[in-house]
């Protein structure tokens, strides 16, 4: 390790009891250098960041050495690195909503950094905070509490605060998760600026686009072990390990376009529908006709009414103007929905088996058919004995899919069903979804943030847009949306 490194890590490992969670990891980052950490969920990516920071959960022990700005300390000795927090070492945590103080408005919360870390006077800290928030498109959030702003805004607010102390070493845990294209690019630019100013960066991400944009080095982790390490550009261009190839293949950018399908018999139709939210129009005069076995995708920035449009079609909410009509003869349960957070869509204290059994009984389907469906989705029947919180997100989303398939739906509204899954799991889940819907002849309307995913999953696309794009009020539902793309 040369002295020019801002951050170097030597033989880092993490042990829980006697079980290793992360093994023998070493890297060094100089000014302007970035390290991208790729891998599946549960591979220990977030643990790596927590170990460097010195905030591992109790019960976990770190091994190896961490050198920060020339100061070497044992990885276990978190107290040694504590005084560097905010000043030379900063963390951008994964759940920004939880990183913010819920009892303090965003403006004063940021000003505190300038005051406490930077030593500025209260007045100049306040104006510095206002300026920084304006730069991040958060001027309107200055006087709001964290729970009053959207997830994407909270993400940006947390990022602004993390870097406000002028730290040279930034650890970012999935910094673009949940951001739409516009703010994803803004976040990438922010990371690139940090590198250009001579800082260094460790970024955990599932997004290969982010990996390519920050460049530098890459480590691919699987179940706590480094399967591949090297320069990002080289590894992504010519991966040597099969798992790395799997990760790269799972990136929606590489998926083939969805084949064009013929129109199907009408399932549900919206005519000239308008809907507003608290007096602000979301969309107006929208026409949409969905037929059997068609594949639709729905994109647009947050706050444009994507979920609302789906709920209108499902009949969960009534339009302000216009009509939504189902085809005659459809069963009341013919239109179904998959949720972004599968766990929230199950009764919490009921085993999955009971949940599915209830649905099967209601729809007079034999249990053997349900088991068959569950197994065709790549799930083990034994898994059903567990409760919703005891299975992984990918598994639970498949159980949710099995649950809606019991009702033989004619149309499925999938509201970002894979946004919380890692790309490999996402690809598997969407694969299974597409095959199951094909078999049942079910139409799909899939909401996604990812244009590549939209292209790969549907031949018919709807894009809701903020007509008057106002960065200050981004996310606020104050604009109209239209533009229909139908091949």
């Amino acid at each position: 390790m040369t002295a020019a490194h801002l951050l170097s890590v030597d033989g880092l490992g993490i042990v829980a009891g006697g079980t290793p969670l992360l093994k023998g990891l070493s890297f060094g980052l100089g000014p302007g250098d970035a390290l991208v950490v790729l891998g599946e969920s549960g591979a220990g990516k977030s643990l790596l960041i927590q170990a460097v920071m010195g905030i591992l959960p109790t019960g976990l022990r770190a091994e190896g050495r961490v050198t920060l700005m020339g100061q070497t300390s044992l990885a276990t000795d978190a107290a040694q690195r504590r005084h560097t927090w905010g000043r030379s070492l900063a963390l951008l945590p994964q759940e920004p909503g939880q990183a913010l103080d819920p009892l303090m408005k965003i403006g004063p919360q940021l000003a505190e950094v300038y005051e406490q870390v930077d030593g500025q006077s209260a007045e100049s800290a306040g104006s510095a905070a206002s300026q920084a928030l304006e730069g991040a498109g958060l001027a309107s959030a200055r006087t709001l509490y964290p729970w009053q702003i959207s997830g994407g805004m909270a993400q940006r607010a947390a990022a602004t605060m993390a870097t406000a102390g002028g730290a040279q070493v930034l650890l970012a845990d999935e910094p673009t998760k949940g951001l739409d294209v516009h703010w994803r690019e803004a976040m990438v630019r922010r990371l690139q600026e940090l590198l250009a100013q001579g800082g260094c960066l460790v970024v955990v991400t599932h997004d290969l686009g982010v990996a390519k944009a920050v460049g530098g080095q890459v480590i691919v982790l699987r179940a706590g072990e480094v399967v591949e390490q090297g320069r990002t550009a080289a590894v992504l261009a010519a991966p040597s390990h099969p798992f790395t190839r799997q990760v790269i293949a799972a990136d929606p950018a590489g998926w083939p376009d969805a084949p064009v399908r013929p129109h199907g018999d009408l399932v549900v139709e919206a005519r000239q529908v308008s809907k507003g939210y608290r007096g602000n129009p979301l969309f107006s005069g929208l026409d949409l006709t969905i037929g059997r076995a068609e594949r639709w995708t729905l994109q647009g920035p947050s706050g444009t009414g994507k979920s609302t449009l789906g709920n209108l079609l499902l009949g969960l909410t009534a339009p302000d103007a216009g009509t939504v009509q189902r085809a005659d003869g459809l069963a009341p349960t013919a239109l179904q929905k998959l949720y972004q957070d599968p766990q929230a869509s199950f009764a919490p204290r009921l085993s999955l088996r009971e949940a599915l059994r209830d649905v099967a009984r209601l729809h007079r389907q034999p249990w053997s058919t349900v088991v068959q469906t569950v197994e065709s989705l790549g799930l083990n029947e034994g898994l059903l004995l567990r409760q919703p919180h005891q299975v992984s997100g990918g598994e639970l989303q498949r159980v949710a899919l099995a649950r809606v398939l019991i009702t033989r739906p004619a149309f499925l509204f999938a509201d970002e069903p894979t946004s919380r899954l890692d790309p490999v799991t996402q690809q598997e889940a969407l694969d299974v979804l597409a095959r199951a819907l094909d078999q049942a002849g079910t139409a799909l309307l899939l909401v996604t943030h990812d244009p590549d995913l939209a292209r790969a999953m549907g031949d018919r696309q709807i894009r809701l847009a903020l007509v008057a794009h106002n960065p200050q009020d981004h996310g606020a539902p104050n604009t109209m949306a239209e533009r229909l793309v139908d091949p």
Partner: protein
């Protein structure tokens, strides 16, 4: 925490046993006067002694316990039914119904509970039903508020929406979604409001506006025994200890509310 709850449960069980079989086992009529046996000390015939009119304190205590526990439990359960139903109605329909019901609940809450009971009790002084109605009217608000707050996120949640889309009706919603969420908060609430009702009954009896003599009732007994505090302190100790045991038992049983 489990140990504390068990302690509360066994305290209550002991009092309930005393209240249910005590009046049958103790061979004395709680109202039978015997002026020759006035203010006897505790002894083998009258375990807790006798009062000024020579009545067995133990027999009176057992009848008072039965009356207080029975009436209080009835009040708590009676209050629970409208409280829970209105709470569910407020969170299910929301909007104006919610506003109206919440306003009503706040209005009831803004009045001291005992005052409300007094007002109802004034319609029929000394009658059981008037006290019962008054206490229930004061107690339903807690059920309403807790039930509304607990059921709102359940109703608004994806799980309930999904179950509606899958074709399940309100019965299923109640059984699979609401009951599991409500039961752990409602159970301790019943214990708490029973304790409140026991205290309320005793307070009213004590100030002479609740049940009237010669009924054996905890508050009445206290006010009757208070003048003999110096010469026969065991007299007033009896109803006070019983009241303490009942309320302590309820509070311990309720534990830390549905935190587990």
């Amino acid at each position: 925490m489990m140990g504390v709850r068990q302690l509360g449960a066994s305290l209550l069980a002991a009092v309930a046993l005393f209240a249910s079989i005590g009046p049958l086992c103790i061979g004395h009529d709680p109202a039978a006067q015997s002026l020759g046996e006035s203010l006897l000390r505790p002894g083998p015939v009258h375990w807790l002694g006798t009062d000024l009119l020579g009545r067995s304190v133990l027999a009176r205590l057992a009848h008072a316990a039965q009356l207080s526990l029975g009436l209080a439990l009835l009040c708590a359960l009676t209050a629970a039914v409208p409280g829970v139903l209105l709470g569910l109605a407020a969170s299910w329909w929301g909007g104006r119904i919610d506003t109206a019901l919440s306003l009503l609940a706040d209005a009831v809450l803004s009045m001291p509970g005992l005052l409300l009971v007094l007002m109802v009790a004034a319609i029929a002084p000394g009658q059981h039903w008037a006290l019962y109605a008054g206490l229930s009217l004061a107690l339903w608000v807690e059920y309403f508020r807790v039930c509304r707050a607990t059921s709102r996120p359940v109703f608004a949640g994806d799980a309930v929406q999904a179950s509606g889309l899958l074709g399940f009706g309100p019965g299923y919603l109640l059984r699979r979604h609401l009951l599991p969420a409500l039961a752990p908060v409602l159970a301790p609430l019943v214990a708490f409001s029973t304790a409140q009702a026991v205290l309320g009954l005793a307070a009213l009896g004590f100030i002479g506006v609740g049940l009237q003599p010669p009924t054996a009732e905890l508050g009445l007994m206290m006010i009757e025994y208070l003048p003999h505090y110096a010469e026969a302190p065991w007299l007033i100790a009896a109803p006070v200890s019983l009241l303490l045991l009942v309320v302590l038992g309820m509070v311990l049983l309720a534990g830390d509310g549905g935190a587990s």
